[in-house]
């Protein structure tokens, strides 16, 4: 498996670069490869500059980090719950963050798009993190019984909370006016519409730091995923460590939701493919999953941007359309 890793990573990174190039090229404003390079390194005409620096480049970079954050979050959750189907989008963490943002939008004065101040841009992620942690706390509290959260209980409670929160979100959307509704829609469906470099600054540091911590602590994660008895036997305070890892996973997920809204299934697909390719050891699985998920998100966002141009399909929806069949395939096969 170690050998495989040395093969998988370079191939994955080359693939990611190729997809990024494709994402740079493909858009409603047509540009040749030469023009793009010229714009990146020397600066081009104003419209070329907007297309590359204003829209495509930040979106690509943010997509990469979203892929990394969500896949690491999913990987961690699958490890600590020992349930291969655990994922922040399915168990209601993303929904909690979304609800908080929707509430915020609903109570805000009516300012849209270009009128959004920098304060809103910074405040929104904080609110989404608050929502994510509130949801996570609620799920953990409701699943907690006799000193542990069980193998399935955490996820089952999460799914229920997810349904409940989603229905509350719909209630608030009903009472919104058209402008607020559209603004909320990009959150509930997950979209990178209007992403700029400011968003990159919000997600990149958190993701890099937590990813490094996870790699550093990957041994513990490996042991936890062997099961509670074995982990206890090997001298690990299971529930305490589980709580820590869940905290990190929620933090990652909330960072991703803060910039992109509710995106599900990325935390599922990447880790699964990675596990098949490089095995279950987290030190290898986490980076491989990150690269695969980054490829997936960048590709999906490019398609979301252009498939029905000029209408943009939300990224989260496109990813669920890809993710659900894969998920169901996993369930049927895994039996």
């Amino acid at each position: 498996m170690k050998k495989r890793m040395t093969a998988v990573m370079p191939v994955g990174i080359v693939m990611l670069l190729a997809i990024c190039l494709f994402a740079l090229l493909y858009g409603s404003y047509e540009m040749s490869l030469g023009q793009i390079f010229k714009t990146i390194f020397y600066g081009g005409t104003p419209s070329e500059h907007v297309a590359v620096w204003g829209i495509r480049l930040p979106r690509i970079l943010v997509s990469i980090f979203i892929g990394v954050a969500l896949s690491a979050s999913g990987c961690t959750m699958q490890g600590v719950t020992r349930n291969p189907l655990a994922e922040p989008g399915i168990i209601g963490i993303n929904a909690g963050a979304t609800l908080a943002v929707v509430l915020y939008i609903a109570n805000q004065s009516t300012m849209y798009y270009s009128a959004l101040g920098a304060g809103t841009l910074i405040f929104t992620p904080l609110i989404s993190m608050l929502g994510a942690f509130a949801a996570a706390g609620l799920i953990y509290g409701l699943a907690y019984k006799k000193g542990d959260t069980g193998r399935n209980r955490l996820i089952l409670v999460g799914v229920g909370i997810n349904i409940a929160i989603s229905s509350v979100v719909v209630l608030f959307q009903l009472s919104m006016n058209k402008g607020s509704y559209n603004q909320a829609l990009t959150w509930t469906n997950g979209s990178l519409w209007g992403t700029g470099f400011l968003y990159l600054a919000m997600i990149a540091p958190v993701t890099v730091i937590i990813f490094a911590v996870l790699i550093y602590k990957s041994r513990t994660l490996d042991v936890l995923s062997l099961g509670d008895e074995i982990a206890t036997g090997l001298g690990i305070a299971v529930e305490k460590e589980r709580k820590k890892f869940l905290f990190l996973a929620v933090l990652l997920a909330s960072a991703a939701v803060a910039v992109a809204g509710n995106i599900a299934f990325v935390g599922l697909i990447g880790p699964h493919i990675a596990q098949k390719l490089v095995g279950a050891v987290h030190r290898r699985k986490l980076p491989a999953a990150a690269v695969i998920s980054a490829c997936l998100v960048v590709l999906a966002d490019t398609l979301a941007r252009n498939l029905f141009s000029p209408v943009e399909i939300p990224l989260g929806i496109l990813l669920s359309l890809i993710g659900v069949p894969y998920f169901i395939y996993l369930m049927i096969r895994e039996r």
Partner: protein
């Protein structure tokens, strides 16, 4: 048990009747009983009488029938999957129907061809097949979590598709209305659609209830007793699908009704589906009629979406069911 059964029926029936009366009397314009009585039996064509006849009555009846059908469908699903959390909206059947309704309302040619009801039926059939696939393929070792995750995935898929359709048709805010459900638009047309389909399906469900009893003991036992599990599952799903379709066409997506009612009734009447299924119908009807009264009156003159009440009641039941599962 038989006496308890009669007791439950009488209580639920009284509740439902009182609910129907309250639903016709209460609303943005409160009416006295006398007016209601007159407008039904001595129709004079006045405004109040028209309100009762054309709006309040069909709405109350729709709520009753939809509530009954949804909880009945939930009870049947729980029987054939042997899983206490199976329910039309959790398993994605109503979402499939919602997608079809979304397609029909965006695309006029589809709408003209099929109308909402028929479109919902097609969507429900498609998603019903998926449920069937899961309930057949792994009923032996179907844990709560697998069924629930499968259902969540399926419903996410249909909702995503519905969002795309609504987005491309520039109707995305309407999607929120379809999803939240309610009886704002109820008319006699829907009542006449719900009643025949509902009573037919209810009759079939009653006929199947004995076999569902045997299936709920486990597949091996069922085969030993001479019942073919797969056959009964197919028949049951075939009964559930039209039920869900008419409910979605009339009222949109109302979650958790099929979870709450059978769960409570199981506590009182035990596991016998021959009693559980009819009792679910009448209690579900009572619940949704009262929920609709609340939806109309809590924030008068505005409507509170009815899904709020069913979810508020449903989530605690759901959590308690989930917490009971052994880890």
């Amino acid at each position: 048990m038989r006496r308890r059964m009669g007791f439950v029926f009488i209580i639920a029936f009284i509740l439902m009747a009182a609910g129907l009366l309250a639903a016709t009397c209460l609303g943005a314009k409160p009416l006295s009983m006398q007016v209601v009585w007159d407008s039904i039996f001595n129709y004079d064509g006045g405004l109040d009488a028209m309100l009762v006849r054309d709006s309040r009555l069909p709405r109350a009846l729709c709520a009753a029938v939809v509530g009954g059908l949804l909880s009945m469908a939930g009870a049947v699903m729980q029987g054939i999957t042997r899983n206490p959390i199976a329910e039309p909206s959790i398993m994605g059947v109503t979402q499939g129907a919602t997608l079809a309704v979304a397609v029909a309302s965006v695309n006029m040619s589809v709408y003209g061809l099929l109308g909402n009801t028929f479109a919902a039926l097609i969507g429900a059939v498609a998603s019903g097949f998926l449920v069937l696939l899961f309930s057949i393929s792994s009923a032996r070792n179907m844990s709560l979590s697998r069924l629930l995750m499968a259902g969540t995935a399926i419903s996410t898929f249909f909702l995503s598709m519905a969002s795309v359709v609504a987005l491309l048709g520039n109707r995305s805010q309407d999607l929120a209305f379809w999803l939240s459900g309610g009886f704002r638009t109820a008319t006699w047309k829907y009542v006449w659609m719900l009643l025949p389909v509902g009573s037919l399906c209810a009759a079939f469900a009653m006929m199947l209830s004995g076999k569902i009893n045997i299936i709920s003991l486990g597949d091996d036992t069922a085969v030993g007793l001479g019942v073919k599990p797969v056959q009964v599952r197919i028949q049951s799903v075939a009964v559930i699908i039209p039920m869900c379709a008419v409910c979605v066409a009339a009222a949109g997506n109302i979650a958790f009704v099929g979870l709450i009612i059978p769960h409570i009734i199981r506590k009182i009447l035990g596991q016998d589906y021959r009693r559980l299924i009819p009792a679910s119908f009448i209690c579900g009807a009572a619940l949704l009629v009262w929920a609709d009264v609340a939806a109309k009156t809590i924030n008068m003159p505005y409507e509170t979406p009815i899904g709020l009440f069913s979810s508020l009641l449903g989530i605690p039941v759901f959590i308690s069911l989930v917490r009971r599962e052994k880890s």
